[in-house]
Amino acid sequence: MMHTKSLSELSTALQKGSLSSVELTQHYLDRIEKYDSVLNCFVTVTAEQALNSAKQADVMLAKGEGNALTGIPLGQKDIFCTNGVRTACGSKMLDNFIAPYNATVVEKLNACGMPMLGKLNMDEFAMGSSTESSFYGATKNPWDTARVPGGSSGGSAAAVAARLVPIATATDTGGSIRQPAALCGVTGIKPTYGRVSRWGMIAYASSFDQAGPIAASAEDCALLLGAIAGFDEKDSTSIEHDVPNYTAGLNDSLQGLKIGLPREYFGEGLDPAIASVINAAIDSYKAMGAEIVEISLPNTHLAIPAYYVLAPAECSSNLSRFDGVRYGYRCKNPENLDDMYMRSRGEAFGEEVKRRIMVGTYALSAGYYDAYYLKAQKIRRLISDDFTQAFKQVDVIMGPTTPTTAFKLGEKSNDNISMYLADIYTIALNLAGLPGMSLPVEAVAGLPVGLQIIANHFEEGKLLNVAHQYQQQTAWHQQMPAAFMDIDKG
């Protein structure tokens, strides 16, 4: 049962030589072949390239080179540029875009000797919470294929949940790692803004975007985060801050840990069934010696309004480069320059992307800047200050990752506002640049629920430790959707 093993178990087998990277990679390719037609996690499967990389990894392993990740295959969210491989970012605009360079995240994981199984589906340009806005069709939730996997990193979360990949990369602008991780019953961490380089990660909202792993456990996340974190001279917003050994502190005791529970995260709008399983998880922490402190993040309700000014404003400008001149989609037979711009962009961007570009364009336009953009940056300060105050009292903050479990495909795709509200608990962190993670707790009616843990800037190690301790005591993270577990011949 190779695909039920943890990364460290796989790594041990690879190092010992009882398992080869080629076997392991082929095993996952077989699973993708068998199940992905149902789930649609992958936009591109790079089987040949993966097997070639696996052969090289086996050589590295045989020579005793490499590290704990060498030989373990993974999936890359299709937002990361991969040299020579189509990088479409969920959009018709980039359907023909073969990236001519590698993102730093990709470069680092390649250097570890991790074969890339393929590129994972996502909401178009990472704008969405259901992966339904992808040009390549919706990804299905492995726990109930009539439901969404969340988004925008829905392909990453669903692929890990169905064990089509041992681990995947993802990105988070307003909850795009944590929300799909929660809805698919897997573990994901969004690091502090600036912890992981953004070079080669196609920008949605530059002051929010951050990459991180989605995996089956906090321990697996710790391994991958250690490999992708760190300063990059190609990203002037990446931070020159030592990368700690994230696995070293996983077993630290939680005795005396102060956990803040923001009352705003347990109020109206939260499904009572979710509240109950979250409270049960918090009880487990009490049992581990943690102390519970009720706190307030009074400006929580303003996070979504501020985000839906700022992220669209940044995206309206970031997506201006898609103009049909140097790469990407160009409309047929443009009559003139303006026609080329209007139709290339109009025909190749989906509805949600166009909506956000227009909101952002409006918010930045003459006469509205102060009322929208500037106002939202002030609200951002208030929200950030809420957290600063809270972290004077507590070590971590906990609450639900999402207000509901996975919703049905199509349920919210015509109601963009209610889709936005699904990110109510996750968005504030991105405004403040804080790290956060989601890990599975007890399911509700067969659907996964995520516990969100938030820590202060650069305290990813603390987050992983707190999550890992829970996963030592409980087995929710080991639950797998039965429908995709039937070819366990490994």
């Binding site: 990361f80 540029c81 990088t87 970012c89 980039l94 875009f97 990236a99 001519p100 360079y101 993102a103 953004r198 070079w199 080669g200 990660m201 196609i202 920008a203 909202a205 530059s206 002051s207 001279e233 190609k234 990203d235 002037s236 917003t237 404003a313 940044e314 309206s316 400008s317 997506l319 201006s320 480069r321 898609f322 103009d323 001149v325 140097r326 790469y327 320059l337 711009y341 364009t361 930045l364 336009s365 003459a366 800047y369 953009y373």
Partner: protein
């Protein structure tokens, strides 16, 4: 009616960095199209800008040179608009927080008076690529080599009142940026160009008239002509009862006229906002102090010092400080030979004439400052006369070696041996008995004739002072 012209200039100076403002691609001029446009300059998806420290240092240097505050914190903003030579769909520029704040520049007017022109601000920004319209049927070709090259945009107050003042101001800035070494100032290659905001109003009227912006003027001659043309156009409109409309116009040097730009017809809404990929720029006191230390002497200071230290005339001081290279050349010669007067005469005289004729700049001079110093030393120690020196200079310019080599190989050493000179004089006197008689009869003007004969016989090498003295003795004897 008497009209007054009001002009403000926005000068775009390309900074002389090796690499671009936000990428590590080269900035060299004239490369094959699109061979100096890397991922960042092409605005590929996922790329990020990383700012060039040297460009910031250069901007700070300019700020110090015009006495402007250099902002402790400045901010890059995105100016959003669509244009094929703008790959990002926005230009990274500075909006409300430029690096260089308000300063000023003095210009000298035609009547010799000095006028102060305010510099509103100077900010860092990216240059765009180039559009080539001619070669493709129905298409425009885009070359992005220039995309991302650092520019310093220097914005003046509307303080100029004539095209001539505008040119004087632009020349002054042109001289300054070259002095500072922050730009090569090459106008033909587009390294130094400007947009002119021009309006007219009745003399005595307080408020400004509606202005037109003339784009992309890249020679001093065009600026003057374009402004004068635009002023006439505006006066004609108003005098005919019309109204000037605010618009962007393009100067066509072939037709000597300006016309409205179609691409700028739509009122632009640039949606400036702080670039989220770039944190605020910080200029610390230490950084500024470092810049201050390497700030060269500025042209105005240098002119004053030259006049005082070397007793130069206004004219010589002006010519000798017209560029930093010229000033350095002169000072090397003046200090090397110890005679500033000789040095000034040779540099502004024979050297300037030669360079002008050959269309060379001072830094391309075939006669180095050391060569010229060596030659003047030979004049001062009487090895050669000033006249012979002209021959030596010509030979040095042709690459025949330094002064001593030329003097030696051409046998140009001055004759100072009295015996040898006397022998020549004796021969001349013997051969020109008639003139000797006239001289002795009182026609002393003939001395010049004898000097000429002696110099000719010595092939110019006899020491003129000695010749004069000995001739007088012998003729009166």
């Amino acid at each position: 009616m008497a009209w007054e012209t009001v002009i403000g200039l926005e000068i775009h100076t390309q900074l002389a960095t090796n690499s671009k403002l936000f990428s590590g691609a080269a900035t060299a001029y004239g490369a094959e199209p699109n061979t100096q446009a890397c991922e960042v300059d092409l605005a590929l998806p996922g790329v990020l800008p990383v700012m060039n420290k040297e460009a910031l240092r250069m901007a700070a240097m300019f700020g110090l040179a015009i006495g402007a505050p250099v902002a402790k914190h400045s901010v890059f903003a995105r100016k959003n608009y669509f244009y094929p030579d703008l790959p990002q769909g926005y230009q990274i520029s500075q909006f409300d927080r430029p690096t260089v704040e308000k300063g000023e520049i003095n210009i000298t007017l035609g009547n010799g008076e000095t006028k102060t022109i305010g510099v509103t601000r100077a900010h860092l920004e990216q240059d765009a690529g180039k559009s080539l319209h001619e070669d493709f049927q129905g298409f425009t070709g885009i070359d992005l080599n220039r995309s991302g090259t650092p520019l310093l945009e220097i914005v003046s107050e509307p303080d100029m009142r004539s095209a001539k003042e505008a040119v004087a101001y632009m020349k002054k800035i042109h001289e300054l940026v070259q002095y500072l070494g922050i730009s090569d100032g090459n106008m033909a290659e587009g390294s130094f160009r400007c947009d002119a905001n021009v309006s007219v109003r009745l003399v005595g009227q307080e408020e400004f008239g509606t202005r037109a912006e003339i784009k992309n003027l890249n020679s001093f001659r065009f600026i003057e002509r374009a402004i004068n043309h635009e002023v006439e156009r505006q006066i004609d409109i108003i005098e005919a009862g019309g109204e000037v409309i605010q618009q962007t116009r393009l100067y066509d040097p072939d037709k000597d006229e300006t016309r409205a730009m179609r691409s700028k017809e739509e009122a632009n809404d640039y949606r400036y906002f702080p670039d989220p990929d770039l944190l605020p720029l910080e200029i610390t006191a230490e950084f500024l102090e470092e810049v201050r230390k390497i700030l060269p002497e500025l042209p105005d200071q240098k002119r004053l010092r030259f006049k005082q230290e070397y007793s130069l005339s206004d004219f010589d001081a002006e010519v000798l400080t017209s560029s930093r290279a010229m000033a350095e050349y002169f000072e090397t010669v003046a200090q090397g030979c110890g005679d500033a007067k000789q040095a000034a005469n040779w540099v502004t005289g024979s050297l300037a004439a030669y360079l002008n004729k050959q269309e060379l700049s001072i830094s391309e001079s075939p006669v180095s400052a050391n060569d010229l110093t060596g030659m003047i030393k030979r004049i001062l120690d009487n090895t050669i006369s000033g006249n012979i020196a002209k021959q030596v200079f010509e030979a040095m310019a042709k690459g025949e070696g330094d002064a001593d080599t030329v003097i030696e190989s051409k046998g140009l050493k001055q004759i100072t041996d009295s015996g040898a000179i006397e022998a020549i004089i004796d021969e001349i006197i013997a051969n020109n008995a008639g003139q000797v008689e006239q001289y002795r009869a009182g026609k002393e003007k003939l001395l010049g004739f004898f000097v000429g004969q002696v110099m000719k016989a010595s092939r110019g090498k006899a020491n003129p002072g000695q010749v004069n003295q000995l001739l007088k003795q012998k003729l009166s004897g």
